[in-house]
């Protein structure tokens, strides 16, 4: 049986990017429907590492460095607002973050990268390079192979599953409709708006459509005159048994959760639509973690998983609005956790209002067609 539903906006994709924008839109009074795939989907949002991360983002695209920083600065108030609205504590903290260097070359490369970011941010990004001695005072468990680290006070972390759940709870609390098992098969123009068909044969009509379907957006974007040249990049994560707190802020490769588990990650593999863990990568992750904190050697690994990042050719987000199909937007990116605050706030403002501001032109997929 097919149904026909009308909404102010249809969000295609119920992952972290889609639901954050949707949550922002319902708070601005729009009637919003999320159309999500079923459990067959590759769920980047359920395999997250949970960093709210600024350092290393945006080398080569100042607009991305600034957007990331803006979201990071919004995060503390965002986490508090979400807790008040949904009752869910996101376990957000922003004590800064480290990226460890295991050789002098890594250390010098890091200095250059951080300087590039300072330049891209117009001087608002701040960091410190710390040598081993200084680090060891702060982190008594640090291993002998660590040469130093970059430290940025803008970094933080969060329980990304709580975040994901809170976005859905908040979205539905404000009247949003979440519809799973509704893969979108067709989007066509319908007067000033859109007619969206799902594989079940249901029809949705809306003034706006936002494509936020992760790697599936590649197939959907051309239906509304947009492009989303994304492809999967596999990341694997290990989780240890809970240990007593020894690390009060995250690092790029490992972080300790509020419950005491240690998450170890940051592998990158181009392996297509396949999300299995592999012993080689798990060993590489474990070896690097033990080199950083030798005490982890005897902490048990209790789980591991893999998930697929949503990656553009240059690694930066694609945000865009269609010229041929006004009211159609695309938001396709890695870093849905870091950018959640920006998606609920300024991104939802733009989509609910007059469209993306001119400063978003550098995020257009047109940059790949030069």
């Amino acid at each position: 049986m097919s149904i026909s539903t009308t909404a102010d906006a249809v969000i295609v994709g119920g992952g972290l990017v889609g639901v954050a924008i949707a949550y922002g839109l319902v708070q601005r009074g729009l009637d919003v429907v999320i159309l999500d795939e079923g459990d067959v989907a590759f769920r980047a949002s359920r395999g997250n590492f949970g960093l709210v991360w600024v350092q290393s983002k945006g080398v080569g695209m100042p607009a991305y460095a600034q957007w990331t920083r803006r979201s990071s600065d919004l995060w503390p108030e965002f986490a508090e607002t979400v807790r008040e609205d949904t009752g869910i504590d996101l376990q957000f903290s922003r004590n800064g973050g480290y990226q460890f260097c295991l050789s002098e070359k890594e250390f010098q490369d890091r200095v250059r990268m951080m300087d590039t970011l300072v330049e891209a941010s117009g001087g608002t990004f701040t960091y410190e390079m710390m040598r081993r001695g200084e680090l060891a005072d702060r982190l008594p468990e640090l291993g002998p192979d660590v040469v130093g680290a970059s430290f940025s006070p803008h970094d933080g972390h969060v329980n990304s599953l709580r975040l994901f759940r809170a976005m859905h709870v908040g979205f539905q609390k404000h009247g949003g409709t979440y519809t799973p098992n509704s893969r979108v098969t067709d989007i066509t123009r319908d007067g000033d708006g859109f007619r969206i068909a799902t594989e079940k044969g249901d029809i949705y009509r809306s003034a706006r459509v936002v494509l936020a379907a992760g790697n599936a957006t590649r197939e959907l974007a051309p239906m509304v005159g947009l492009e989303a040249p994304v492809s999967p990049q596999k990341g694997q994560i290990l989780v240890t048994a809970k240990t007593s707190p020894f690390l009060d802020c995250p690092t790029a490769q490992l972080r300790q959760t509020g419950e005491g588990s240690v998450l170890i990650g940051d592998s990158k593999e181009e392996s297509g639509f396949e999300d299995m863990t592999s012993p080689e990568t798990i060993k590489m992750l474990a070896d690097r973690a033990v080199a950083t904190f030798p005490a982890l050697q005897k902490v048990r690994v209790v789980r591991s998983w893999a998930a697929l990042r949503v990656m553009t050719p240059d690694g930066f987000p694609v945000y865009g609005q269609s010229e041929t199909h006004p009211g159609a937007f695309v938001a396709c990116l890695h870093s849905g956790v870091t950018l959640a605050a920006a998606h609920v706030g300024p991104m939802a403002d733009a989509i609910a209002g007059g469209g993306l501001p001119p400063s978003f032109e550098s995020f257009s997929a047109d940059r790949f067609n030069v």
């Binding site: 468990e141 048994a241 809970k242 240990t243 007593s244 707190p245 020894f246 509020g258 419950e259 005491g260 005490a295 050697q297 005897k298 902490v299 048990r300 209790v302």
Partner: protein, 99 residues
Amino acid sequence: MFKRHYSDPDVPTVTIRFEGEAIEARATDTVAAALLIAGVTATRTTPVTGQPRAPYCMMGVCFDCLMVIDGEGDRQACLVPVAEGMTVSRQNRTIEVVR
């Protein structure tokens, strides 16, 4: 709190040490079962807040029975059979256990 529902007379008795104290068990017991029958109520404390915990599911799923057994931390007491002379202690802050 717990008592033995049935005891096979052919199963030998073994002695384990919990926090230095001798505890009599049956050779077919798991560490968790032996301790519960001996009246031990807290077998670990949580790593972050230090709250006491006891074995719960008794089938390897809940990870609430983690203990230090023969010097090795994070072992599931509900899955480890007792053995003569085994030493068992409460698991407190894990990262100190591994040092």
